[in-house]
């Protein structure tokens, strides 16, 4: 067989170096080509990660036993001998950029699995990569990016095949250097919020079409990065693609939960998902709570202390035990101390709004005991019958505070058989207000001031008040304080002033103030998940036989046909009722057959139909997961469901 010259460029010789020319025959297998190449370069190095890439045909020649003939390589082919793993700049859900080595030769799914393994994110099938937004936006940012943006580097980390070992809840490979530890912290601790000005400059989708555009950027899971034109050091976005988060477990999923939370937060702040005002306030309150807790955690010099929580728990358990043991010997003492419930006594002003009356606040002597407030004409008469006693259990408590006007009121809505009675208590100063407010809040939940949460509640209220104070001032607010405006989406910056927002967030905050950091994140995710529009990915499509574009929403359990102009749901198809779906790759049309002989077909306008097909198949794959087979991921099935005939 005749020998001919094969041109192969080798990365390590430099970009300018001419391709190596090796003499081959058509029946030489790829392994032989590689051997010849390595010999020719005369370089001593580890070539194990290298493989042959055929640029014109966009294909990796990975099967070393295949011959050149079988691959169809002829003399005009220009091959490239290049590493399969290359660095990539990943924009994480928390808006940080991380350099990480990714596999450019395996299907994207495999690459994502590897990345997630490095990042310690379980369930990698839920994530995928997409291309960053269009160039023109990027250009604007470019100067900023080069200078300011901090890039974390994890390219040095190479994992063995063994399962990652953990130390103090942190995967061992993050322990190598201080930098990697910092990266783990970045991954697992929520990022501080950005200023509202910056936020309002960020891209926000304003219509369904905008939202549909985002989905056109997803990369294909069944093809490799290289095949999809991704170059070394390119920027890609790592996101949770399939909104069915399986088996979230705070014990193993520190990074995963943090990143889901971050993605949820950004989705809400950037108005990718709509919510009501009340929901926004709750999200803001949770963010505030989470930020505060993460700050106190990170300001702690010993970062690992958070991981030592178990030990602390043990300590407190031992303390409790001690108390209990002592308690049995002298029951009466402890009983007394338990029954000794702290009281609040003070002069406050009271106001009961009634129709058509403009009564002013009137001063009384108030005693707060247990969960009830009693008031008397004066301190001297406190021994007698109170004018009235109000039990706050089950009542609604709302702040009515105006710092500029030095107005510290507590609005109480106390349920009674006759209805709710509205009462305002006016306090003199912040100190007094925070104590009484905290007591009211606890009492509304049936707790007394003896409850351990009382002091922290007082502190919470105080810190919120100071936050409010520092905001309006033009001077630089200390960065420990969180700007309330950065907790809500730009729409609400415009709608409300900070001092209007603060009390509302504070009001929502009282319901979540007792949550731990993990619980708060989980709560945030849960509320996000229960939004009606949660987890719907939009595509502009054209249904067969229709003349105008419509929107197809793909969620984890259903397909939604949406009217493009109005945004109304026209029809919902659940996967449960779906017999089969397929793609006609020639006319690029997705056809779906539903129970009851319903057939739907559409072509995709904003995205490739492969993306739509993969989305549907992906969700069906997600629903096949079960806890028993949690260990291994059935990649074959995933590709079968998402790949389409094209990939097979």
């Amino acid at each position: 067989m005749a020998a001919w010259d094969l041109h192969v460029s080798v990365d390590d010789l430099g970009p300018e170096a001419p391709p190596l020319i090796i003499s081959v025959t058509s029946d030489l297998h790829i392994g032989g080509v590689i051997l010849k190449l390595v010999q020719k370069t005369q370089m001593q190095q580890d070539w194990s990660d290298y493989a042959v890439w055929w640029a014109q045909k966009r294909v990796w020649l990975l099967k070393t036993s295949w011959t050149l003939d079988k691959y169809g390589v002829q003399a005009d082919a220009r091959l490239q001998f290049t590493p399969q793993h290359k660095p990539l700049r990943l924009l994480l859900p928390n808006a940080c950029t991380l350099r990480v080595r990714a596999c450019f030769s395996a299907p994207l799914l495999q690459a994502v699995i590897e990345i997630c393994r490095v990042l310690n994110i379980r369930r990698p099938e839920e994530l995928s990569l997409l291309k960053p937004p269009e160039e023109k936006e990027k250009k604007k940012k470019k100067e900023k990016d080069e200078g300011g943006e901090e890039i974390f580097d994890l390219t040095g980390v190479v994992l063995g095949s063994a399962a990652p070992s953990f130390y103090n809840g942190m995967p061992a490979h993050f322990f190598d250097t201080a930098e990697t530890e910092a990266i783990y912290k970045m991954l697992s601790v929520s990022q501080p919020t950005i200023s509202p000005e910056l936020m309002s400059k960020m891209y926000r989708p304003s219509s369904l079409i905008d939202k549909a555009q985002i989905n056109s950027r997803w990369l294909d899971s069944s093809r490799s990065l290289m095949q999809q034109g991704v170059q070394e050091n390119d920027r890609l976005v790592l996101r949770f693609k399939y909104y069915s988060f399986f088996d979230l477990d705070p014990k193993y999923d520190a990074v995963r939960i943090t990143q889901i939370y971050e993605q949820a937060r950004w989705a809400i702040l950037l108005e990718e998902i709509d919510c009501t005002e009340e929901e926004m306030m709750l999200f803001a309150a949770l963010q505030y709570h989470i930020d505060k807790l993460s700050q106190s955690q990170s300001s702690n010099p010993d970062f690992k202390s958070s991981q030592n929580q178990a030990l602390e728990d043990l300590d407190s358990a031992l303390m409790n035990l001690e108390v209990k043991l002592e308690g049995t010997s002298s029951t009466s003492d402890t009983l007394e101390s338990i029954t000794d419930i702290p009281e609040l006594k003070d002069n406050l002003k009271l106001f009961r709004p009634k129709r058509l009356t403009l009564k002013a606040y009137k001063q009384y002597w108030f005693i707060f005991k247990d969960t009830s407030i009693s008031y008397y004409k004066s301190k001297e008469e406190a021994l007698g019958e109170p004018i009235q006693q109000m039990n706050l259990k089950g009542c609604e408590v709302a702040p009515d505070v105006n710092l500029a006007g030095q107005k510290f009121c507590i609005k109480l809505l106390i349920p009674a058989p006759e209805g709710m009675s509205e009462v305002y208590l006016r306090c003199e100063n912040e100190r007094q207000y925070s104590q009484w407010m905290a007591a009211c809040r606890l009492a509304s939940k049936g707790k007394t001031m003896a409850d351990s949460s009382y002091q922290s509640e007082v502190q919470n209220i105080l810190s919120f008040l100071t936050m409010q104070k520092s905001n309006p001032g033009p001077q630089v607010a200390s960065d420990e304080n969180i700007n309330t405006q950065s907790l809500v989406s730009p729409r609400y910056h415009k709608k409300y002033k900070a001092k209007q927002l603060t009390p509302r967030i504070l009001e929502a905050h009282q319901n979540v103030a007792q949550l731990s950091l993990t619980d708060a994140r989980m709560r945030f995710i849960q509320i996000w998940q229960s939004l009606p529009d949660f987890g719907v990915s939009y595509f502009v499509v054209r249904f067969k036989g229709c003349r105008k574009d419509e929107v197809l929403g793909i969620a984890n359990n259903r397909l939604i046909r949406i009217d493009l102009s109005v945004g109304d749901v026209v029809k919902t198809w659940r996967y449960n009722n779906m017999r089969q779906w397929n793609v006609n790759w020639d006319i690029r049309q997705v056809a779906i057959e539903l129970e009851g002989n319903v057939n739907v077909a559409f072509s995709c306008v904003t995205a490739d139909c492969k993306i739509v097909h993969e989305y549907i198949g992906g969700y069906i794959f997600m629903s096949t997961r079960s806890k028993e087979t949690s260990e291994g991921l059935n990649q074959e099935l995933f590709h079968k469901l998402t790949g389409g005939h094209e990939a097979l």
Binding site: D274, T276, E278, L282, G394, G419, T572
Partner: protein
């Protein structure tokens, strides 16, 4: 030789149980007397007085609720003779018993005594156990001697134990220990205890109220017994409670029990595992020596002691601040039952005990329904809710009623989820497998999916009998409406209500009361509001289907996964009820019932008094279950047909006839 001694033992056992039953008698008498006294004192106190200073009552919540509950009882007594005092007693006992178990001082079984004595004959085991020495504070020697106030520490246990055992009838003990005990012993106990009339009555009462395997549980029957019984017991009370020689004897055994740390299975344990007790025997033997003479001289003292014990027990209950309510539960057939609930009981637990007592078939549809007649609204309590917490919201002069009734809509959501979860306008059929998948999808994910319900509803204007149309939407965070002139986008929605603080009620006949546009109304209010108020929101739907969709949707948004858990729990019980050849074994204590013993029936049927009715009862079981399944079928059919089907006029089936 051994045989002889065994016979002796048996004899002793027989005697014991005999005495014990007399003893029980008196205990009951004392308790009832106590109750009567309380009600009398309340009679004197008059309701008016109670109402006079509302302030005061609110200051002491525990006290208030206690008095309140007694007032209810009083009212119940006045209303007629349909008061089920014996059932009440049983409830009281069970509550007491629970209380004592919680206090980590296990109560002692009375009928452990014979065994104790039997065991005593045996040589003590060599090992006297580290466990024993650790319980030094409960040293038998000291407790046996002194009948002094210092015993009040234990008196609660004693009382609860006695009451518990009194009501937990002997045949149950026999049943539990059946396999490990030779039948003759049971016979001994049984026959030996059939002493006086009241004795038998006591037992039958305890049977009827406590354990459902006795069929004499319908309110009517027990009422009759009650009538017979009460005068006698009051007599006993007035006589100053001639005491029994037995009370002090019980002490040592109590110590043993406490030490052993058993509550429920004691009987089984001490009958089957003697070795456990052996290490105690020596002690007990010592303490018992020379007892009888000592006791006889102190008859009266013992009586006083007993009275004291009861008093202390009552005080302890108050101390523990466990609120209890005597409640009156109305049936669909206008009859009613009076029972006692304590503040920790969930609706499920109360339902279970009601089901045990009323023998109406175990359908998950049985519900406790709160009707607020003044506002013409009602709601089904959810199974996980705390009953007392809800009932204390009622005002003292409240006309509210608690109904025990079968309601199809209670779990309609889970029987036909496709009609509620998919947001479709029309009802449809669905395969069971798919229903399950749908429920799984909705309730078992990381967050509960609130069905997307939206549409035009009528909203009543505050203080006016006029209704306005509004477009409402349900979200997990509450109910919203679309303000005029705005589009239906999330950001523009106005929050109508958040669901944390409100409960949802069905409105009744608002067409007349408020000129509602249809009969399908719902109301949302804070549970404490009991009178007309601007804080009650009224909504009206155009059809019954919409109404049910909204109500169920709001339930899901408010309670989330808990609803599904409730349903599964209810279904588990239903299945269990099906499985059993006889319903009679259904839980004696709600929730804690476990194994059903097939031969138990033959065991307890030879328990004398309740013999014939219980077998008759069994025969009727199959009928019940068939009725039940019929009802189930009908239920699913009727579900959507009309609102009228909501109140299903099905009487609790009276199963037995032969007791009196």
């Amino acid at each position: 030789m051994e045989q002889v001694s065994d016979e002796e033992v048996d004899h002793a056992a027989e005697e014991d149980s005999d005495k014990e039953d007399q003893d029980l008698d008196k205990m009951f008498g004392a308790w009832l007397g106590e109750l009567d006294k309380l009600t009398q004192s309340l009679d004197d106190g008059k309701p008016d007085q109670l109402r006079k200073s509302p302030l005061r009552q609110e200051t002491n919540l525990a006290n208030f609720s206690y008095r309140f509950s007694m007032y209810n009882l009083n009212e119940a007594l006045n209303q007629g003779d349909a008061v089920d005092l014996d059932a009440l007693m049983a409830d009281l006992c069970s509550i007491e018993q629970e209380l004592s178990t919680i206090g980590s001082k296990p109560s002692a079984p009375k009928h452990a005594q014979p065994t104790e004595q039997k065991v005593r004959q045996k040589p003590p085991a060599g090992r006297s156990g580290a466990k024993h020495s650790s319980s030094a504070r409960a040293s038998p020697s000291s407790t046996v001697r002194g009948h002094k106030p210092m015993h009040s520490n234990y008196s609660l246990d004693d009382i609860t134990a006695q009451l518990e055992q009194a009501s937990l009838s002997m045949d149950e003990a026999a049943r539990q220990s059946g396999p490990s005990l030779p039948p003759p012993t049971i016979q001994h106990r049984r026959t030996g205890s059939a002493g006086t009339v009241s004795d038998a009555d006591v037992r039958s009462i305890s049977n009827s109220s406590r354990s459902s395997f006795n069929s004499a549980a319908s309110s009517m029957d027990s009422l009759d017994i009650d009538k017979v019984l009460r005068p006698q017991e009051l007599d006993i009370l007035q006589q100053g409670q001639p005491s029994t020689e037995h009370a002090p004897l019980r002490r040592p055994s109590k110590q043993t029990k406490r030490h052993l740390d058993f509550t429920e299975e004691e009987v089984e344990v001490d009958l089957s595992t003697h070795s456990y007790l052996d290490r105690e025997t020596s002690q007990i033997l010592k303490n018992i020596a020379g007892k009888p003479s000592h006791l006889l001289t102190k008859e009266e003292q013992a009586a006083k002691l007993k009275a004291e014990k009861i008093r202390v027990a009552l005080e302890k209950i108050k101390e523990a601040q466990v609120k209890k309510l005597v409640i009156r539960v109305h049936m669909s057939d206008d009859s009613s039952k009076t029972m006692m609930v304590d503040e920790r009981q969930t609706v499920r637990q109360v339902l279970d005990s009601l089901l045990d007592k009323s023998h109406c078939g175990y359908s998950p549809d049985w519900s406790l329904v709160e009707t607020i007649s003044e506002l013409q609204m009602e709601r089904i309590f959810e199974d996980h809710e705390n009953l007392v917490e809800n009932l204390v919201n009622w005002t003292r002069d409240s006309q509210n009623k608690l109904m025990f009734i079968e309601r199809i809509e209670k779990y309609a959501l889970f029987k036909n989820p496709q009609n509620y979860l998919l947001g479709k306008k029309e009802t449809s059929e669905m395969a069971d497998r798919k229903k399950e998948a749908l429920l799984e999808e909705c309730f078992c994910g990381s967050s509960v999916t609130v069905p997307e319900i939206e549409g035009v509803l009528w909203l009543k204007d505050d203080g006016k009998k006029s209704w306005k149309k509004r477009y409402f939407l349900l979200r997990a965070s509450g109910i919203y409406y679309v303000p005029k002139g705005k589009a239906k986008v999330s950001r523009d929605l106005v929050c109508f209500l958040q669901l944390d603080h409100v409960n949802i009620y069905y409105g009744q006949d608002y067409r007349n009361k408020y000129k509602a546009p249809s009969d399908y109304c719902l109301a949302l209010k804070h549970p404490q509001i009991q009178k007309k108020s601007q804080y009650i929101k009224y909504l009206c739907c155009d059809d019954v289907r919409t109404l049910h969709q909204w109500v169920n949707g709001i339930h899901i948004a408010k309670y989330g996964k808990q609803l599904y858990v409730n349903y599964q729990e209810a279904m588990k019980r239903t299945e269990a009820a099906y499985d059993w050849s006889s319903l009679s074994n259904s839980s004696i204590k709600s929730g804690s019932s476990s194994s059903s013993i097939p031969e138990s029936h033959s065991n307890h049927s030879d328990s004398g008094v309740s013999d014939s009715p219980s077998s008759g009862h069994v025969r009727s079981q199959s009928i019940v279950s068939s009725i039940f399944s019929e009802a189930w079928k009908r239920g699913t059919q009727m579900e959507e047909t009309s609102k009228g089907s909501k109140v299903k006029p099905r009487k609790p089936v009276l199963l037995c006839s032969g007791v009196n």
